[in-house]
Amino acid sequence: MAQQANIGELLSMLDSPLLSVRDDVTTVFKENLNSDRGPMLVNTLVDYYLETNSQPVLHILTTLQEPHDKMDTDVIVLTTGVLVLITMLPMIPQSGKQHLHDFFDIFGRLSSWCLKKPGHVTEVYLVHLHASVYALFHRLYGMYPCNFVSFLRSHYSMKENLETFEEVVKPMMEHVRIHPELVTGSKDHELDPRRWKRLETHDVVIECAKISLDPTEASYEDGYSVSHQISARFPHRSADVSASSYVDTQNSYGNATSTPYSTSRLTLNTPGQLPQTLSSPSTRLLAEPPQATLWSPSAVCGMTTPPTSPGNVPPDLSHPYSKVFGTTAGGKGTPLGTPATSPPPAPPCHSDDCVHLSLPQATAPKKEERTDSARPCLHRQPHVPNDRGLEELHGGKGSVTLSDLPGFLGDLASEEDSIEKDKEEAAISKELSEITTADAEPLVPRGGFDSPFYRDSLPGCPRKTLSASSSTQGTSANPEPLNSSLDKSGPDTPKQAFTPIDLPCGGTGESPAGNRERQASLEASILTPSPCKIPPQRGVGFGSGQPPPYDHLFEVALPKTAHHFVSKKTEELLKKAKGSAEEDFTPSASPMEVLDRLIQQGADVHSKELNRLSLPSKSVDWTHFGGSPPSDEICTLRNQLLLLHNQLLYERFKRQQHALRNRRLLRKVIRASALEEHNAAMKDQLKLQEKDIQIWKISLQKEQARYNQLQEQRDTVVTQLHSQIRQLQHDREEFYNQSQELQTKLEDCRNMIAELRVELKKANSKVCHTELLLSQVSQKLSNSESVQQQMEFLNRQLLVLGEVNELYLEQLQNKHSDTTKEVEMMKAAYRKELEKNRSHVLQQNQRLDTCQKRILELESHLAKKDHLLLEQKKYLEDVKLQARGQLQAAESRYEAQKRITQVFELEILDLYGKLEKDGLLKKLEEQKPEAAEAAEERLDYCQDGCSDSVTGHNEEAPGRNGETKPSRPGGARGGGGGGGRGGGSSSELSTPEKPPNPRAGPFSSRWETVVGEPTSGTPTTVGSLPSSESFLGMKARELFRNKSESQCDEDGLTVGSLSETLKTELGKDSGVEARAPLTLDGPLLPAPKPDSVGQLRIMDYNEAQLEHS
């Protein structure tokens, strides 16, 4: 203690303002720490730091070295730490991610620690630790599935960790679903701050709960249908509890609760458990039968398996628990087996210290036990107390009914008078029970069960008790195990129906889940006439006792669903309860359940013990029961208490989170309902407004109508006004026009005035002028007067002179009277003569006129005549023309006729020729050339004349022909016959002596065109003449010659030559050749001559004609 005081001083010095002092103290501390390996100093430092928040201490702590920082063997600390970590993790999802691997590492280590148990840790602690590790597993898996899974993969792929995995981690994994993030997310995505930003702490907690299959942890809000599991789980748990190794302490209620469900345990075999169930039943079967009528061996064997324990695998893992209680049970052999755990009153010291100190002592016997205890022993153990438990069930708690409960509780309370809290609670519970008995029936139909606050009240109970216990711990220096155990028993009673762990979790989580549990518990209570009925009642009591302020809102918010749900669930559960034989269950219990059970059992044991023992006997000698030293026991209990406290805190944290969430959800609900109401209100308003609108519309229409009317009126007024205006304008215009007119008039008047003025001026001037004139005239007048006077004077003179003249005339007439007669006679004569002449002239003129007329007449006559003449001429012309046309036609006709006759003649001649040919042949024989010649000549002449007249040219050609060849031997003769060459030739030709071969004629005529050209090539022909003609000419000459120089010597030669030429020319013709010799013969030759000549001539003519054309 002195040392402690010293330390306190030093610590106070550490905060001194002097640097040197602080450094000194720090060095002292460090040295001390280095030298002393105990945890004392460190603990002191930590405490101090927590108290003062002193920085130097923190500094010292952070620089701690080897021996001190390895303190993790303390389960309590570890559990506390882990729970803190779990609590913290959802709060710092983002900032905690850099330590993620540390967290994983913690998990890895702790899980292996659970298995290996490095220190001498009591199994009880381990349960706690395991539970916390399990929670950590959930949290890590829930928050960082990918990372965690990858860690697990890497960590447990190692050989040395395999066992841990198999034993610890794998069973944990049975209680989680596959995290959706494993499918959709990635490692990086998990650490994405955006993911966490959306979630609040309680959201994270719920998220983690969602993936859990553990009904104590799980959240059902997503509608994963775990209803079966839960309904199955709940009884299972209770059955488990009853079937666990603590059966002896527990069966008082365990049996009662488990009975209805024990059969359902049949199907509780999961792969992992199967071997156990198979192995264990043999012993169980024997042990269990007496337990209950409904008790089935299979249920027992299912129970024997410690599925909920972390060491799920039978021998070793179930070991810790069984050992813990087994040792106690086995070690004592008495009904007070539990007192083995009850420690003697511990000296007042820090719980940490106690744990620390007790650890080695507590572990030592355990190890021994472990080595000693064989398996059969382990299994045998339970049923010994079991039997006893059965007995107790009937005599003890088992017989406690609902009606009895208050009394029972009251008993309990009376037994534990010493503790005020307990008393209070007992009183409350009593009170409540009184209420509940009265209110139980009406409450149920009210649907109150669905409200989560029934459940909510329950966590309040353990909390209260817990706080009570803590307070007792805090206040009373000596921890009383009985007290604590009693504390536990308080909440324990309800736990028969719903475990404390379960309730806060599901109850606060949400109404349906809680509902279900509640319902399940209700079911249980309904079905079994056992104390189980109490919890709901109590729950109700608690709920009604302290109703949360927002309780009623749920009813308002979700009445239908709640009612529906309740009815459905009750029905379902009833069915299940009836046909519970077929119920199936989930595999293994979670560490949480194990822990629950541990606590329950601990509580049971304590309560039982306390029942037996007289409470006041605090000073009981614990050693009397043969257990471990009491100090150690107390320390263990304290530690357990601490652990429980931790657990409680953790649970409270969870509850808070749930409450938070609940509140939020509630707020949402409220908001939604408010919005709905608001909506409805808005709708009403809308309707009202619509009505208003309708009204407004109607009024608008009215207004419009009125407006229209007004407008019409206005229009009419406007039109009237317009018309008025128009009229006025018209008037105005009229006036204007009038004024214009007047003005023009005015101007006219002005002009007139001006004109008048001018005229006035003029008149004035005229007046002046006239005055002037007047003066002049007056002057003239005076002058004229004077002139008149003169004239009068002169007239008088004239008269005088006239008288004188008359006098003279009288004198004169008297003197010449006889001469005038003669003159008169003469005059008369002349006059007569003149008249005569005048009539004569008249006569002459008349004559002239007549003559002229006559001339005109004659002239017109003449013109007529001329015209007539012209017409006549024209007519004549016309007639002439006509006649000419006719004449032309006639002429042409005549021409044609002539041609025809020519043709005819030709034809006739031809025919004659033919005839004559024949005739000549005869004449030649008769030698009558004369007659023939005469006839020939006559014919020839006629022909000549004809031909001459028609074709003058024709004649010329031979004539020229003849003239051009005078040098020729026959030329002279030919020239001689120029006058009638044709005739001559014909006459000559007609001589019988000149017969060019009789065939030559036709021959040549045939050939004239064909052979003409070649013959023209001969030297005898004349180039200027047509070839045929030359040929003919040659022939004619030859003939001529023949005639003139008849029988000339050369004749035969020329003829021969000719014939030869012909022959050469036409040599090809064999026919000609054959006849040629004949032609050369003299007598034969002349006969065809005339014919040939005629032919030639005709040819000639033809040719001439052709040429002409």
Partner: protein
């Protein structure tokens, strides 16, 4: 006044509006009603408008001098002509130059030859190129004029006109043809020149035979209307138009022989080209009249 009243009073406006030859028949009838027919007017008319077929023979006969301008003497003259025809025919029959079996065109040929005094000695006498021309025209004329007397006379005078009146102008037509073709389509002409086909074109067919046997009678009649009325220039335009019509085909041909052959084988034009040839003929009429107006000397 009577004549005018018979005429459609609108006829005055037809020409103003642009219709031509609407009242041709009427106006021709009016022309023919004159006693002493006005040859000049008839000439102008027949050059300007196509003659109605019912008056064609009469107009031709008048224009060719077969009938005098006086109606009075028509009958008498016609009897003369008929007698002459029958006499000549008779003579030919007498001298057995022709028989009933002799084709009419040959009969006409011999008659013509006889009348011109160039009758060959025998019917088997080979034909001269002139005779070929005559025969071609005769064949065409046969189709046009029904009455053989008329036919013979018209043909006779037509040929005589060709031989006398157009003797000098006909040989110049090929040159005129080239000239006008150059005006119309120099490319075609150059193509022809390049092929040396200009000289070998069927000028004889075109200008001597006056397209007899080359064009269908109905078209030929209209061309001959112009020829009869004194314009042989029409032949040139017809020829040019034929070439232009077959331009594409002619352009496709490369050698002179082919072109000549092609153009010669156009006779008579296939029936399907009849309408187009008709249109072409009208076109060339218009063109010819247009040219005539442009070149009044011709």
């Amino acid at each position: 006044m009577t004549e005018d009243s018979q005429r459609n009073f609108r006829s005055v406006y037809y020409e103003k509006v642009g219709f031509r030859g609407v009242e041709e028949k009427k106006s021709l009838e009016i022309l023919l009603k004159d006693d002493r027919l006005d040859i000049e007017k008839l000439c102008t008319f027949s050059q300007r408008f196509p003659l109605p077929s019912m008056y064609r023979a009469l107009v031709w006969k008048v224009l060719l001098g077969i009938l005098p301008p006086h109606h009075e003497s028509h009958v008498q003259v016609m009897t003369y002509r008929k007698e002459q025809y029958s006499d000549v025919l008779h003579a030919l029959k007498v001298i057995r130059f022709v028989s009933d079996a002799t084709p009419q065109s040959e009969v006409y040929l011999y008659m013509h030859r006889l009348e011109s005094g160039k009758l060959p000695r025998s019917p088997s006498f080979p034909l001269e190129p002139e005779d070929e021309v005559f025969l071609a025209i005769a064949k065409a004329m046969e189709e046009m004029v029904e009455d053989s007397v008329d036919c013979y006379w018209i043909m006779r005078c037509f040929v005589n006109q060709l031989n006398s009146k157009y003797r000098d102008t006909l040989p110049q037509l090929p040159k005129a043809f080239e000239q006008y073709l150059n005006l119309e389509d120099s490319r075609l002409l150059s193509h022809l020149k390049a092929c040396c086909a200009v000289s070998t074109l069927p000028y004889e067919l075109w200008f001597k035979k006056c397209f007899a046997g080359c064009l269908p009678e109905s078209s030929l009649q209209r061309i001959w209307d112009k020829v009869v009325s004194g314009s042989c220039k029409i032949l040139v335009f017809v020829a040019v138009e034929i070439l232009l019509t077959f331009k594409i085909k002619v352009m496709a041909l490369n050698s002179a022989e082919k072109i000549t052959k092609f153009l010669e084988n156009r006779s008579p034009l296939p029936l399907k080209n009849f309408d187009s040839s008709r249109g072409r003929e009208q076109k060339c009429m218009r063109r010819s009249s247009c040219h005539r107006r442009l070149l009044p000397s011709e």
